[in-house]
């Protein structure tokens, strides 16, 4: 178990051509918190997550993880402590579950071991333990990822994110391509694992009901800005309507009114 790391964004601005994805976002997520970022498509949720592990560099402002500023020099060290979970799982579809799991440990092992398949025993054991922890069986290890259901694939995604004992988990819409029941299960699993293994979680979500039962804190974004930032029980219908604007799906409105 590692010590969870805090995340600090200071005036982060990211533009793609003329489109401003993040507009001077300042945010502090304390270590160990489970923080959900909510908002419509194009609000800047993914960009925010991607700036944290350096997949996107901000035009202005800075990001720091556990007190270390994210830049090209610090990135390799930082990424070793960040696990990422993706909407489309980010798994190599034609490779086995075992290969996908080992891939997360590969950057830390000698190159020849990673390329020739002589994986260290400690990594192999850890992969097995994590696959068990996310509710899969030994038989799944040798199975190709594209033979698994979406829910099972995301379980592998979560297991993989914990391969290197991360201090921070970034989850980019981890349940957006899953059915509602597996979505709930996956989020519960993610939260339990994060609490047990000691990791801060920053997770973007679409569904308000899921966010409420999952998060310690909900941050709502729109047009690259933070609209509000509160514990889940303090959200009201008016705030939700603001996030989703006039074109708000009725379902969200109803859920918020409950």
């Amino acid at each position: 178990m590692s010590a969870p790391a805090d995340v600090r964004l200071d005036g982060v601005t990211v533009s793609f051509d003329s489109f401003r994805a993040l507009d001077s976002v300042t945010l502090e997520i304390p270590a160990g918190q489970i923080c959900v970022i909510l908002g419509p498509s194009g609000a800047g949720k993914s960009t925010l997550l991607r700036t944290v592990n350096g997949l996107v560099f901000p035009d202005r402002g800075s990001v720091a993880i556990g007190g270390t500023t994210v830049d090209r020099r610090s990135l390799p060290g930082l990424r070793a402590r960040i696990g990422m979970i993706h909407q489309h799982f980010g798994l190599a579809q034609r490779a086995s579950v075992a290969t996908n799991m080992i891939a997360a440990a590969a950057p830390a092992m000698p190159l020849w071991r990673a390329l020739l398949g002589f994986y260290p025993a400690v990594d192999r054991r850890r992969a097995c333990a994590l696959i068990e922890a996310v509710g899969l069986q030994e038989e799944h290890l040798a199975r190709r990822v594209d033979r698994l259901s979406g829910g099972q694939q995301q379980r592998v995604g979560i297991a993989r994110a914990f391969m290197r004992d991360p201090a921070l988990i970034l989850a980019d819409e981890p349940v957006a391509s899953l059915d509602p029941r597996s979505a709930g299960e996956i989020l519960d699993l993610l939260r339990d694992q994060a609490r047990m293994r000691g990791a801060t979680v920053v997770c973007s979500l679409h569904q308000l009901d899921l966010a409420r039962s999952f998060a310690d804190r909900i941050i709502a974004m729109r047009d690259g800005r933070i609209l509000f930032d509160s514990p889940p029980d303090r959200l009201d219908a008016w705030q939700i309507a603001q996030v989703y604007g006039r074109g708000a799906p009725e379902q969200v409105m109803l859920e918020a009114a409950e």
Binding site: M84, G90, A95, P107, L111
Partner: protein, 332 residues
């Protein structure tokens, strides 16, 4: 303002531009067709067919082909060697299935005493092996297959690194990519037959030149297709690998390679298939295998031998086609 659907115009299939392209294409075909004598080809072919049907008296094409074809059969199966040329020949212990024959040949010779030309009948004992030439062809065919196999292996060994350096998502630097792509283009630009001509000069007659000629072109082909396949691989696992802090090699190993393996196998099998055919052709310029044997026999007017070789090539290529199709069906 919107117009009712009854008044919409459906996009025309034959627009002005389409017709212009059609006319231009016909014009190009008309001019080039005259230059490569397409008209004469048609006349000669029709004449040949008519001759077969008894509607024309004679045809240059049919006569020439028919004469050659007639000489191809019967195909040569046996071979014979003069026993005096076999080292340590023992008439009591003949090789399996072989027998001795005496061959008489008429030779004109100048008699040194009378200073006259006279015909002498020379007798020679030869060892005849009934399927000897067939065995020889089989060995040459095997050599061709071996040349093709090694040509493919070396092509893949050169093509894979070239493909890696030439793929946008894996290359260490854009300049390296340009360099790798240029090498690939160069290799692809030289047909096997031409590189074989030069390699035969460099390495001498035989399989080495053949293997290298096939390998160079194959490396260009495989490098290009490997690279393009890796570039078009699903980017999502690659981004996941980058997010984990993996370098380019690990990204390739864990996020690209698993996706492209089936296509890599398909391309490599195609090159193997192609190499078997091409190995026969480049043998004609002396690069080993059955092609070299074919060229030798053809130049010696031994058309029976040529017939045997052609039948052997036909059988091998058909078997190969069949095998490759089954292999693809099974695995891909």
């Amino acid at each position: 303002m919107t117009i009712a659907a009854e008044q919409w115009s459906f996009p025309r299939v034959y627009g002005g531009r389409g017709i212009a392209i059609l006319i231009a294409a016909l014009l190009v075909l008309w001019i080039t067709g005259q230059r490569v004598e397409m008209g004469r080809m048609a006349t000669l072919t029709v004449e040949a067919v008519m001759a077969q049907l008894g509607l024309a008296e004679r045809s240059q094409v049919a006569d020439g082909l028919g004469k050659l074809m007639g000489q191809l059969v019967p195909i040569q199966l046996s071979d014979q060697r003069d026993v005096t040329r076999i080292e340590g020949f023992d008439p009591d212990r003949l090789p399996l299935f072989s027998h001795l024959e005496t061959v008489a040949t008429k030779v004109e010779r100048l008699d040194p005493q009378s200073m006259r030309r006279e015909q002498v009948i020379e007798r020679a004992t030869v060892l005849v092996r009934p399927l000897g030439y067939l065995g020889h062809v089989a060995i040459k065919m095997l050599e061709t297959l071996e040349i093709a196999l090694w040509g493919t292996v070396i092509a893949a060994m050169i093509g894979l690194p070239l493909g890696l350096l030439g793929a946008r998502n894996i290359t260490p630097h854009p300049a390296v990519r340009v360099a790798a792509r240029s090498i690939i283009g160069l290799l692809r630009a030289i047909p096997e037959l031409i590189s074989a001509l030069f390699l035969v000069v460099a390495y001498g007659f035989g399989p080495i030149a053949g293997v290298l000629a096939l390998a160079l072109y194959g490396a260009g082909f495989l490098g290009k297709f490997y690279a393009e396949d890796m570039e078009s691989a699903d980017p999502k696992p690659q981004e996941a690998m980058t997010a984990m802090g993996a370098g380019r090699l690990l990204l390739w190993r864990f996020a690209v390679l698993p996706q492209v393996v089936p296509q890599f196998i398909a391309y490599t099998l195609y090159i193997l298939d192609r190499n078997v055919r091409m190995a026969t052709v480049i043998g004609l310029v002396g690069a080993g295998g059955i092609g070299q044997e074919l060229k030798g026999s053809y130049d010696m007017y031994e058309y029976g031998h040529v017939g045997t070789i052609l039948v052997a090539i036909l059988i091998v290529v058909l078997l190969l086609d069949h095998g490759a199709a089954r292999l693809r069906h099974r695995w891909l």
